[in-house]
Chain length 780, copies 2
């Protein structure tokens, strides 16, 4: 499973990859990227350009260039350059090049040795000034060598779906108080469709043996590349440092982009590399203190877990409550830099329990995008809020009607992600309730959450059909998370989620009625809510059809008629492909008429609703697992959680590691049929955290109390997770024999804390509560 | 339009086709076939065999040979033979051969002249003994010639989907009292799946110059062909006659097939050709007296109309109330010899108004197949009667899940004719109500119709979804008659039909309550009907969603969202085909995402419910006509009726002639992608009658009275249609200036007859009522 070219340092923070081949180009850039939630800069060395998928992706720059895909822009690369050694340009990547990522400080690096010198390169996305990315290249001569440095802005950039810029202007200006730095080179652009102004700035500083070199640069310009070039003759032992600073702003940031670029670049060149690194590193330390999960006894699991936590955090626009977490984060433009249900269900939990303010931002984003969700509902004939399957800045649907192409016929396929995958709305309601449960932040619900919940319940009611002959509500023509089966009825996962959403809306309505009738009246007026509507929601709670364990008394049918489909396994179905690039799903893919699943909705149902007897969960797990193809990177993590719950620790571990390494051991193709589908599977990153906390540590909230039912893989001596619950910090450590729950808050509050359940036993919280509990032992 | 190789005799009864090429093989056999509702024998000469699609198709012999298609059997051809002239076998078909059909007496013929002799061949399906087919070949020598006659049974037969016979035995026996005839040669068979015994018998009689020739035959046998051979030396002027008799019985006929064959053959050889012809011809005369439509001034329309009437009647198993009318009648096995909605909506009207007992049989068939319709409903999760889309003997669904194959991928297509095309059930309810209206036969409704109506209403209710937010019933996931758009909601045609069906069920229930409560209680007990169910039906009548003219105040949307589909015309869509054999519909055919229709459901809605203002009908006609591809042979006739109604007489005429000649000028391919799709479009035949009566004569029933609103094409001087209404015979003649309605019943009843509406004026019926009415004039 593990890629032999990848190694980890003993401390568990640094990942190195050697033995570069061109096939690794995409995954190195994605895996070793740097970012800060405002921008993502792919883990690419100085010399790489569009052919090597070098890119800086910037939040909040949605634009459509091809009439189909509205996506984030990649901006001109202001950390571009070349090294010419003794007249020959250095190739950044060779079999001896080491690429890597220091997770502790969010630092990409590359080292290389040539006959003449050693190259040590670093790249960081600043965590203080989110508009800044900095690169340093240090050359140490091992023999005399003549060197030419080139550095500047490359505007010939990789962009997935067309050129986004209708206007592009270059400018150079001096930098005051910028001792020995180059001037500020700027590229000012405007997007063609959305008319967003973007400014990208570049500055360079060069030091020879620690002494700044007066910049006697010569502008090198061609149509798309502008920058400086400077020659050096190095003696053996000479050390030449090149510091590059890139700043990027858009007109969506609320300030003039050009002014912003000036400020950021000015600060950067004034501070210099070491000072910037120091400040940024401090932020990373704070982050890891709150978020790092320790796994004793399994180095690979330890490092890959940190890798996933790292990518989940740099993907999230934590600075804003109006921006989505992209399905590929900021690692590339794939999936349009937009949010799916992934955001609430897979990305959010880590923030919810480590940095709840970010979870609040995520949910506030859904509040701010209510108008888009309302527009979608209305356009499709519904009421309330039907959230976009692919949601950008405004919440309007970004998912085009025709997503895939049938590779066998060349005909486009009308995928129904955008109109039939309705669970997105109740999923958001679920997340709001989960947020309230975990944080107790009723004020958020009053301000924002309630309106979202009401509009979601309203949407659900307007979508539901009532079968008078069966006296129940049904859902018709759905696509569940298992996207291989479109046009199904009563998808179990969706129906339970709808019931949950309606129940949450009723509960919040009733609490508002009691606690804050004025605010309720405000919302009621705002959205024209009729009192009878809440009766409708109550009626849905009572009478929506909830598929029960029926087959053999235990199996829940994923949707009406699923058990009548051809019962084959994924391998057999795969053998029916006439072309490996075929889409397996709608309308006529190989999985459609079979029980083969992309991901198991019934398993997902259990993940979100631990409301079924464990034997039922176990029976369904055993039925659905062999029928699941895991065509979604979200699938293994949910299986891992349920495997742990039904006490199948080895399979839980295997599923977890599959999820944990989906990107790092990148076995999926990054480019398929000419379409780039690479980049970081952000939701799988978030899901890893969730498996550890909800699966192995076995955390859940029961009647507003914490409950732990840990299952520890044999490979692990212990796992330690810091977390926040209802505003108080905790740390839980699970070993095979006991559970240690430590309270990190003010000891005075301990007596106010609710009871804690460990297994089935209730405990009173203490500063340090250690309870014997067998979380290992024999698998069932 | 007209095929130049086809000509009509001046009397208007005989069709001749010359200039044979092999491409005509299928259409000659179909168009010139003979039949009697029990069997169909294709219009093929003595010499043709399986390669020329010679076949005798027999009702009530359903069998499945290939695991997919249950179809009627073709039986061994007992009218097979050869003519050898001066040592060379005669080719039956050449450029000089004349093939033809005498509609007046249901007689196929072929004439041919060789250097040595003339050949005059005739073929009839007996109208007295339905098990009998007879062929006569008369050779007249123009110079001395040596002739070998061979005649017998060919068991190497054409069968569409596999060999149906698991057992086959040959037998020869003497025929008592059969002067100069051959013995009886029999082939006894059993079907492999359905275990039906079938017996086919053959006898021959030869006359030389009018004198029976003592049969000194020699058996010629090979594996699949058994028969006699006899040599003759003819002098110039000699006339040699070969009479062949074929009888066929199956164990489904209620008598021993072998005994049946003996009786029929015995009668045939005893009677001889002339007597048989005489008796059969009398039946044809009676038929034409009741059914013939006279069109003055348009010979082509006259003959082709008779051609369609002929094929409608020979396709119908008039002798039975337990057998369906096949979509291709008995012309071949295509469409499995089974009934579609065509039967009630297109075939039945002609019988309803000319021979109501046959209409009763058709509906009784639906009563007898209730168990199959109940099984289908139950299997799919509904109650009541969901009639089979393709209905054979038992009423169980014969339509396989996978009907077509995607020619671009080779993948089979899951067509949803069988589970989503629900209008079949309310269509049958519609026909029952129409039957009651036209005949007044309440006794049929009491005995059979009521139970069918109740079970259909029950099915409709169990299929309907109620939208609480809209306070209405909706239909979800349908396929309307326009089969290019599957998975649609609220297909307007279907919703109106469901309302009609529920209203009819309620009306019949209430009348039974009043007039025959005992019988009602019997039915109620029989089918376990709850009193509340009729309230459900009333609720459906009141609250089913009935799409109204909305777009521009006039257009009715065929189904939810139709007007949002790409608005292109069929020609443009056809240009998108990558293969001419592609299916245009579900799931990914070229028409699916467009407004291009196979046939227009809104037009069909008007045909069956003249309940919309004429401007609305006109606007919809003009909108939908250019968007209709007429991929169904049922489409032009419905357009013709509405074109006439909206006073577009020229287009009505064009649509009518298109429908009237779909088979005779056969432009459709008979074999496509290796699959035989030829044969007679039986429903289009019935539809021609319907266009004439309901379109051009403009007949409809309004408040239990006859109403006429004629529209006469400019080409026609007059049209005369005999018909029966409420048990009384009438004849209507329309000219450009007046309408003549003649009463053919007992004049004493005239005072009891209801009023008649001609145009908008009410008249009292007289023996001969002539009313000025401008049915020609300027088209709108």
């Amino acid at each position: 499973m593990k890629k032999t070219s990848i190694s980890y340092d003993p401390g568990g923070w640094i990942i190195r990859e050697t033995g570069y081949t061109p096939d690794d180009t995409v995954s190195i850039g994605s895996n070793f990227m740097v970012g800060n939630g405002y921008l993502g800069y792919r883990g690419t060395p100085l010399e790489w350009g569009r052919e090597q998928y070098a890119a800086c992706v910037v939040t909040d720059t949605y634009d459509m260039a091809d009439g189909k895909w509205r996506e984030l822009c990649t901006v001109p690369n202001a950390l571009s350059g070349r090294l010419v050694i003794d007249g020959a340009a250095l190739e950044a990547a060779g079999a001896d090049t080491v690429f890597g990522l220091d997770l502790a400080e969010g630092r990409f690096f590359r080292t290389q040795e040539t006959a003449a010198l050693t190259v040590a390169e670093e790249l960081v996305a600043d965590q203080v000034d989110l508009h800044l990315v900095a690169r340093r290249v240090v050359l140490t001569a091992v023999r005399p060598a003549s060197i030419t440095l080139q550095a500047g802005i490359d505007s010939d950039i990789w962009s997935l779906n067309g050129n986004h810029f209708s206007r592009q202007q270059w400018a150079v200006e001096a930098l005051p108080q910028a001792d020995h730095a180059s001037g500020l080179l700027r590229c000012d652009l405007q997007t063609g469709e959305s008319r967003i102004d973007i400014s990208v700035g570049h500055a360079a500083r060069i030091l020879l043996n620690g002494q700044p070199v007066t910049n006697e640069s010569v502008d090198i310009t061609n149509e798309s590349w502008h920058g400086i070039g400077q020659d050096f003759s190095l003696a053996a032992g000479d050390r030449l440092e090149l510091e590059l600073y890139m700043a990027v702003y858009s007109s969506e940031d609320g300030i003039d982009p050009v002014a912003g670029v000036r400020t950021s670049i000015q600060r950067a060149v004034s501070s210099g590399w070491s000072q910037l690194m120091h400040e940024s590193r401090e932020r990373w330390q704070q982050f890891w203190e709150a978020t790092d999960i320790r796994i004793e006894g399994d180095h690979e699991a330890q490092v890959t877990t940190r890798f996933n936590i790292y990518h989940n955090v740099i993907a999230a626009p934590r600075h804003s409550d109006r921006l989505p977490i992209g399905a590929r984060g900021l690692s590339c433009q794939a999936y349009q830099g937009a949010a799916f249900w992934d955001q609430e269900i897979f990305n959010m939990p880590m923030f919810l329990y480590t940095d709840p303010g970010v979870a609040r931002n995520i949910l506030a984003y859904r509040y701010h995008t209510l108008p888009g969700a309302r527009r979608k509902a209305q356009r499709l004939g519904y009421r309330g809020a039907f959230y976009a399957w692919i949601s950008g800045k405004t919440g309007d649907e970004l998912c085009p009607d025709y997503f895939f192409v049938d590779v066998l016929t060349g005909r486009r396929i009308r995928n129904h992600f955008n109109d039939w995958q309705i669970h997105i709305s109740p999923d958001i309601a679920y997340a709001i309730w989960e947020y309230l449960e975990a944080t107790g932040d009723w004020e958020f619900v009053e301000q924002m959450g309630a309106e979202v919940l009401f509009e979601i319940a309203r949407f659900c009611f307007s979508h539901l059909y009532f079968k008078k002959d069966k006296d129940r509500y049904e859902t018709i023509r759905l696509l569940g998370p298992d996207e291989y089966h479109e046009n199904v009825d009563n998808n179990a996962f969706t129906n339970y989620q709808i019931q949950f959403a309606c129940r949450a809306a009723v509960a919040v309505y009733e609490r508002l009625q009691r606690d804050n009738p004025d605010r309720l009246q405000e919302i009621v007026r705002q959205i024209g809510l009729e009192p009878a509507e809440t009766d409708d929601w109550r009626d849905v709670v009572d009478r929506i059809y909830l598929p029960q364990p029926t087959l053999a008394g235990q199996l829940i049918e994923q949707f009406d008629g699923y058990f009548q489909l051809e019962d084959v396994f994924p391998q057999e179905v795969a053998a029916r492909l006439k072309d490996p690039g075929e889409y397996w799903g709608w309308p006529n893919g190989v999985a459609v008429a079979t029980q083969v699943l992309k991901q198991a909705d019934v398993i997902q149902l259990f993940v979100q609703h631990d409301a079924f007897p464990i034997e039922v969960q176990k029976a369904n797990y055993e039925y659905y697992a062999p029928r699941t193809q895991h065509g979604s990177s979200l699938s293994p993590s949910s299986y891992a959680i349920i495997a742990a719950r039904v006490h199948n620790r080895q399979q839980a571990y295997d599923f977890f590691m599959k999820s944990n390494t989906v990107d790092l051991y990148n076995t999926n193709k990054a480019v398929s049929g000419g379409t780039f589908i690479g980049g970081i599977h952000t939701a799988a990153c978030g899901a890893s955290w969730k498996v550890l906390f909800n699966g192995f540590v076995g955390f859940e909230i029961e009647n507003s109390c914490m409950r732990f039912r840990p299952r520890l893989p044999d490979q692990w001596k212990s796992i330690t997770v810091p977390f926040v619950f209802r505003g108080q910090p905790y740390r839980v450590t699970v070993t095979a024999g006991d559970v240690l729950l430590e309270f990190g808050g003010d000891p005075q509050h301990i007596t106010d804390l609710p009871k804690v359940l460990i297994g089935d036993t209730e405990y009173t919280m203490q500063e340090s509560l250690r309870v014997p509990f067998a979380s290992g032992g024999k698998d069932d």
